[in-house]
Symmetry: C2
Subunit: 422 residues, 2 copies
Amino acid sequence: MQVKLSDLGMRQRPSDITRLMTFALKQPNMLSLAAGFTDNESLPIEDIRELVEEIADSGAKGKTTLQYGTNKGRDRLRSLLAKRIRSLDTIHESQLDEKNLFISNGSQQALYLAIQTLCDPGDFVLIEQPTYFVFLEILQGFGVNAVAMPMREDGEIDLAGLERLLSQFESTGNLDKIKALYLVSYFSNPSGHCVSEKVKSDIGSLLSRQKVPIAVIEDAAYRELYYQHPFESRSTVVLESFNQLPVLYTSTLTKPYASGLKVGYAYCSDTKWLNSMLSVKGKQDFGTANFAQAILEYALASGRFDTHLTSLRGLYQSKMLTLHESLGDSLKSLGWEWEEPKGGLYLWLKSPNEMRTDGESQFHKSCIENGVFYVPGNLCHHGNEIRSQIRLSFGSLNLADIREAANRFLAAAESMTVSAIT
Amino acid sequence: MQVKLSDLGMRQRPSDITRLMTFALKQPNMLSLAAGFTDNESLPIEDIRELVEEIADSGAKGKTTLQYGTNKGRDRLRSLLAKRIRSLDTIHESQLDEKNLFISNGSQQALYLAIQTLCDPGDFVLIEQPTYFVFLEILQGFGVNAVAMPMREDGEIDLAGLERLLSQFESTGNLDKIKALYLVSYFSNPSGHCVSEKVKSDIGSLLSRQKVPIAVIEDAAYRELYYQHPFESRSTVVLESFNQLPVLYTSTLTKPYASGLKVGYAYCSDTKWLNSMLSVKGKQDFGTANFAQAILEYALASGRFDTHLTSLRGLYQSKMLTLHESLGDSLKSLGWEWEEPKGGLYLWLKSPNEMRTDGESQFHKSCIENGVFYVPGNLCHHGNEIRSQIRLSFGSLNLADIREAANRFLAAAESMTVSAIT
């Protein structure tokens, strides 16, 4: 396979998330319910000011936060994060060794490293429907095939269907090309769905019975962004049925605090896989920015992180409710469907009569004309023709703008109904 | 090509730089002249405190430095950096469009993206002897072959030799597999060498005459870390002979200011290649940490960056002189050779009678026993058997420790001479 410079543009298609984020940032009059930005008003700049004061006041130790760090990340931060996972999963120290945890440039980089080290072009990765759309772009970038798992009506993976799917791969001799199963298990981007412990546990049992090892990548980016209560489902790090499987658990300090710091983390149960990811990270950047890590380490250690997170939970719930209620009965009476999430940053809508909502659709155009922007749901799917869903993010807009955006969205929805009647 | 999980450890060999940096950080009694860390004492923590104050005081604009940014990087920072390159190269605005400039996680990520988008396994990249050893690891990680260019005695590329090399590739039908030529053109890591404008310009002419486009990657990480005067050689961005070639110019705000912030930048003359790199970056992290970028943007705009850099120049010169003079006549009398650099962080030593200095050598063991650590020069070579060179970094140690490290190094060198005699 030879690639000439003139073909370079063909090697990578433009990233949808990049395009959407850039578009949203450059259209000041557009109200964007698209990009998964976090709330602007509540960004903890005063916290950061004081944390940097604290770092600057701590002498030589503070100064060296401006030095290179290690490839794996700051020891104390990794220790605090290991404790954090243990506490969420109520497990003992011995069951989660912080040696297996590393810091990444957002959880995004950990997902990228996972696929880069696991897969070759032509391999397969199992995904939920819908799934995190940037993950689909990562797969596409490496020439890896996404395989949508059969889903139940309630948004859970259909275990019997998954078993049949695996059998089909086995019967065609392709089972060993399935390298991973990807789960967005808490307040999913885009659907807000949580995977129950029972289903998760059954997945572990099913995969453990296969003749080849299939890695599990659990993306827990929104796990702590619940509104009232954590979702009661332990992670693949601790569930017994995953004991014999290579597991990567990824999460982030970005979404629940300050996305501009871009610090994520990952725990990997398989030492070889971990070392392989670290080796690639050593070439990409030999370590995430030490200073950004230090700020988050101090934020976690001082309790500021959790204080902020607690206030964010209430804030996002009120933003969610504002969008949910502003669309409310009016939109439902037009036949749109969605569920009220219990955490995360998104509403996941289904259009009436499978009306198309993709980027080429009349509805999408109508929304842009009305000054509101969303993520077409088809970007979150692969290998099917579902084009009638929409992800709305209420993360970045303030309450007044959320109401206005909802009105614009409603106007677009109503115009479609009118044009369908007339 | 199938890779099973059990083979994962084989896909990537451990990174030398990662190993060295970790080793150096974990041996408190070892004096490390190995890793290219920057000076600890002078790290600008007070600058950072005040810059964060300034950001925090600037209202909504300041707050949004904690929000996601764009994939390409902050507009104002990119504009300031474009101006900076223009000023170094004394060119007009029209000749360098800041649209073609993006921000990366240190210049390391830009180098990684360059190879990831240009090359397929089995391709070739031309390198200097010696060259930046982490770049060799990037090539190895992608299965790309490094091809050492013939060099003159004075450290410049031998143009006639390079022409013969290209002819050989053409005659075997492999010319189109050479994807890039990599130059570390200012105060090179590891040799301190600068590429003259004449040689650089001739390289452009030679490459322009080839039947296939060969990209040029100019690594200018140390360009501004001169001691007294900038090295008088314009970059490939502006030199006329490169006009028709795809050029990537990479540099960093890390080495000359605060390595813990990890912000680099790259200018690419080829829009397709640029977009290809940005597309991959969109998948790796969709943008370098916005807050770290903002700190450096404010540091550049306020003049703090340049004030600090000016003081660093004097500091590194005095550190270089301390190491240079501490080794001085004693080491030279043993037959060791090196030149006094005019910028950068390294001395590049040749051992007497080609005595081995690689990681397996008696001399390396002797240095470790004496409590001093260096980078074996063979890591900076590929495709030859040069094992008698050494890179010494004076970046991180203070003056007293540099003297002590020099004494330990001398003791090791003397012990080898004694053991050779006895």
